[in-house]
């Protein structure tokens, strides 16, 4: 009786409560979480926070230092840097969300097909993944941009294409290891179809590690976007991006250091935030680490 009572009074903790509890006991994880929340909030509420249109030129003197009118100063066209940093954050989050979302979805499908499908298809897909991974992202990006022209969509496309093999390979490995797991065999013996095995057993097992990996990839994706934009191969002017701000600032660094600072600090913060958070999530969800703790 007392054992039954104990079972009722200790319900299975939800994922969110596990995360929050895990983060509470992890200082870097908390810092990462706070940074990510702040960055996301700034990106989402940018239009309400900005005082100026990020593309509006001559909103103040050119290359001005920070002031009460322009919190981060102005760039070479007199545009408000604070507004441009916020707008750049939206672009960064959009690229990260869209490209990683697309890469995850496509990687999931291709990984499952490779892992659970016939051998020849697995070999073919592996060849494709390896071929795609052999291109360095920026070089591949430059080639694609030269062919189709620079735009936000192109950046998303480049990042998605170069990220798909990473996720697909992980899913393939997971799917192959689960393919012959006892509980999957048991399900199969009980007459369960492939969709049920996939969605009820395989997916939940691979999704966690995948999401952690994706969260740790966010800074990489943002750096790729910033890198392409820095090289003039990313978003079109006058769209703001941290890479564009950095490039403009770099060109006029003798006139004012503020644009370079304004463009680089968010990249540093976003890298720290997502890396800390990703590591904390890995600690929370990785059963081996939990066991060790």
């Amino acid at each position: 009786m007392s054992q039954a009572q104990a079972t009722v009074s200790l319900p299975e903790p939800t994922v969110i409560s596990r995360i929050l509890r895990g983060l509470a006991g992890n200082r870097t994880g908390t810092i990462g979480f706070v940074l990510v929340v702040l960055i996301l909030a700034a990106a989402i509420f940018a239009p309400w926070i900005s005082q100026y249109d990020p593309a509006a030129i001559m909103t103040g003197p050119r290359m001005a230092p920070p002031s009460s009118d322009h919190w981060l100063g102005t760039d070479n066209l007199g545009r408000d840097l604070f507004s441009r940093v916020l707008a750049g954050g939206r672009v960064a989050m959009l690229v990260a969300g869209a490209s990683l979302g697309a890469a995850l979805s496509l990687g999931l499908v291709l990984g499952l097909v490779a892992g659970l499908g016939p051998r020849w298809l697995d070999n073919l897909l592996l060849l494709l993944f390896d071929a795609l991974r052999s291109f360095p992202t920026i070089v591949f990006g430059l080639a694609v941009v030269t062919l189709v022209g620079p735009s936000l969509f192109t950046v998303i496309l480049v990042v998605a294409i170069t990220s798909v093999p990473i996720y697909a390979r992980i899913i393939r490995t997971q799917a192959q290891s689960l393919r012959n797991a006892e509980f999957v065999m048991a399900e199969r013996a009980m007459g369960a179809g492939l969709p049920r095995i996939l969605f009820v057993h395989v997916l939940p097992n691979v999704l966690g590690p995948l999401l952690i990996l994706a969260s740790m990839d966010v800074p990489l994706v943002i750096a790729t976007e910033a890198g392409l934009s820095f090289l003039g191969m990313g978003v079109r002017p006058p769209t703001s991006s941290w890479g564009v701000i950095l490039n403009d600032g770099y060109n006029f660094i003798r006139n004012s250091p503020w644009p370079v600072i304004a463009g680089s600090v968010p990249i540093v913060l976003v890298t720290l935030g997502f890396t800390f958070l990703g590591e904390a999530l890995r600690d929370i969800f990785d059963p081996r680490l939990q066991k060790a703790n």
């Binding site: 030129i57 070479n76 003039g232 079109r236 060109n251 006029f252």
Partner: protein
């Protein structure tokens, strides 16, 4: 001079003890030098500078741009060359004498003993004839530099007469001292090609102070002394030219110590004046370049002249130029820079533009275009700045635009029919051409014959073409200048052009260097001297 040298050498106390002392102090000095400097000193004197674009043609009869000619100046000789200094003038190079006999005959005599590299022997009048005539014979895209050249008559081993069909004013300012004036060996070119035509990027022979030792596409051009050169010794053992299409990059490379000479951007000029890098001289030269916004007349979206005029009037050139060049450049009134014959004091459209007129034209065009117009521009800070200001100005009257930033390789072939169909989609394009000290050089790229080559606006006017021909042989300077002003009026009236600026040409270099520069600040590399 000789005497002074002899005396000073003889009187110098240069015994064994002095030698040992000198050697010891040299070793001590070398040992205390930083490692980099020691390696540098061992490798000889190398002049390093940047170029706005990589070379893409080394055949003088088929040169493509001024950066090709910078290298050609080093590896080939020519009868006359531009004088270094602040005034446009020429001086003899491989010619011992040259004179205009009448309007259509120019007699020259080569210096004796000038050698081609390899086993191709002495430079003769036959080589001069071959070099000059082949641009026309092989229908070169720059054959117009030779205008009405009929033939070159060889009258002796070193003597000849250039015979023109009609007077040609740019002969002394362009044809002889610039690209097509360089001399190649007839035998070497015929050996290397089937018909004496374009040899592209592999010169079969050198006749200048340097030879092309190495070229790595988009990385560097390395020139070394030509052992066969019998003229005055060049100032440097080696010249390294690094292509950098953004001058800001060149500025940073100079500051990092990777360059000894570079152009600088006008937007950085004020800062450099205030706070120059160590041991650096900064000089400013007026530029002859012309920058403009062109409109593709064959693109359906720009077919209505009213829309084009709306664009012309919506652009405040003063604002564009001030923003891009930080107030260091002046708005242009046409293609031809101040100081050259044919310069217009005013453009028909005010440099400040006129928004009311722009709106009127836009209304007459039936309103703004339904799709944003594209502005193609090079991926360099000044250009993207200009594009963004123009975009904002056009937005003020309701014309939506979208900026396409292109790298140099992609940009410079945009309007060329030979490079595919991209010219069809091109709409507005920010462009800049280099210039020489004759108005003919500016207008020659906009004649009907150049449509789809360098005339990217695809502007074609029989009247313009006729005037262009007329100006070539016009001897009266005032009449000639008036013709060029009229030609710029026709260009502007077509609605295909909004002239922006001639920029400026500031340069910086190490104090120990003695550069030889044209009056527009362009380097004359073989004549650089000093040390680096």
């Amino acid at each position: 001079m000789t005497k002074t040298n002899t005396v000073s050498m003889a009187s110098a106390p240069f015994g064994r003890r002095a030698f040992l002392k000198g050697a010891a102090s040299t070793c001590l000095f070398a040992a205390t030098m930083p490692l980099g400097s020691r390696i540098w000193a061992q490798s000889g004197q190398t002049l390093r500078l940047s170029a706005y674009a990589d070379i893409d043609a080394l055949d003088p009869a088929f040169y493509q741009n001024g950066y090709n000619v910078d290298v050609m100046n080093c590896i080939y000789t020519k009868l006359i060359r531009y004088k270094a200094g602040r005034e446009w003038d020429w001086e003899l190079e491989s010619a011992e004498e040259i004179e205009q006999v009448d309007d259509t005959h120019i007699r020259f005599k080569l210096k004796q003993g000038l050698q081609f590299s390899g086993d191709y022997g002495e430079i003769t009048a036959e080589d001069v004839k071959f070099s000059f005539e082949r641009a026309i014979l092989h229908d070169s895209p720059v054959k117009s530099d030779w205008g009405p050249l009929d033939h070159v008559e060889v009258t002796g081993r070193y003597e000849g007469v250039i015979v023109l069909k009609e007077p040609f004013q740019p002969l002394w300012t362009i044809a002889l001292p610039y690209g097509t004036g360089h001399i190649v060996s007839k035998k070497a070119v015929l050996d290397a090609t089937d018909d004496g035509g374009n040899f592209g990027m592999t010169p079969p022979v050198f006749s200048g102070a340097y030879v092309l030792a190495e070229w790595k596409s988009n990385q560097y051009v390395r020139l070394t002394r030509n052992p066969a050169w019998t003229g005055p010794a060049p100032g440097f053992d080696e010249i390294r030219i690094l292509p950098m299409d953004d001058t800001k990059t060149a500025e940073r490379a100079y500051e990092a110590g990777d360059l000894d000479f570079t152009q600088i951007t006008l937007s950085s000029l004020a800062q450099y004046r205030q706070d120059p890098p160590a041991n650096t001289t900064i000089e400013e030269y007026p530029s002859l370049y012309y920058v403009w916004l062109g409109m593709n007349l064959d693109n359906p979206a720009l077919g209505d002249k009213n829309l084009r005029q709306a664009i012309q009037y919506a652009i405040n050139v003063k604002q564009v130029v001030d923003a891009a060049y930080f107030g260091e450049a002046e708005p242009a009134t046409g293609l031809i820079a101040p100081g050259l014959p044919g310069h217009r004091d005013h453009s028909a459209i005010p440099v400040e533009g006129d928004l009311d007129k722009a709106r009127e034209f836009l209304q007459a065009a039936g309103g703004p275009p339904s799709q944003p117009l594209t502005i193609d521009t090079l991926n360099a800070s000044e250009w993207t700045t200009m594009a963004q200001i123009i975009q904002a100005q056009l937005a003020k009257v309701g014309i939506p635009t979208q900026i396409n930033v292109q790298d140099s390789g992609s940009f410079w072939t945009l309007g060329m029919e030979s490079e595919g169909d991209r010219w069809k989609n091109m709409q507005l394009v920010l462009n800049r051409f280099s210039m020489l000290p004759d108005p003919y050089y500016a207008t020659s790229w906009f004649v009907s014959e150049q449509v789809g080559i360098w005339n990217w606006e695809r502007f074609s006017s029989p009247e313009f073409d006729k005037l262009h021909q007329k100006a070539l042989s016009e001897i009266d300077p005032d009449e000639r200048a008036a013709i060029y002003r009229q030609m710029q009026d026709i260009m502007e009236q077509s609605g295909a052009y909004r002239f922006l600026t001639h920029e400026g040409s500031p340069v910086m270099y190490r104090d120990s260097l003695e550069p030889a520069l044209r009056p527009d600040g362009r380097p004359l590399l073989p004549r650089f001297s000093g040390s680096v």
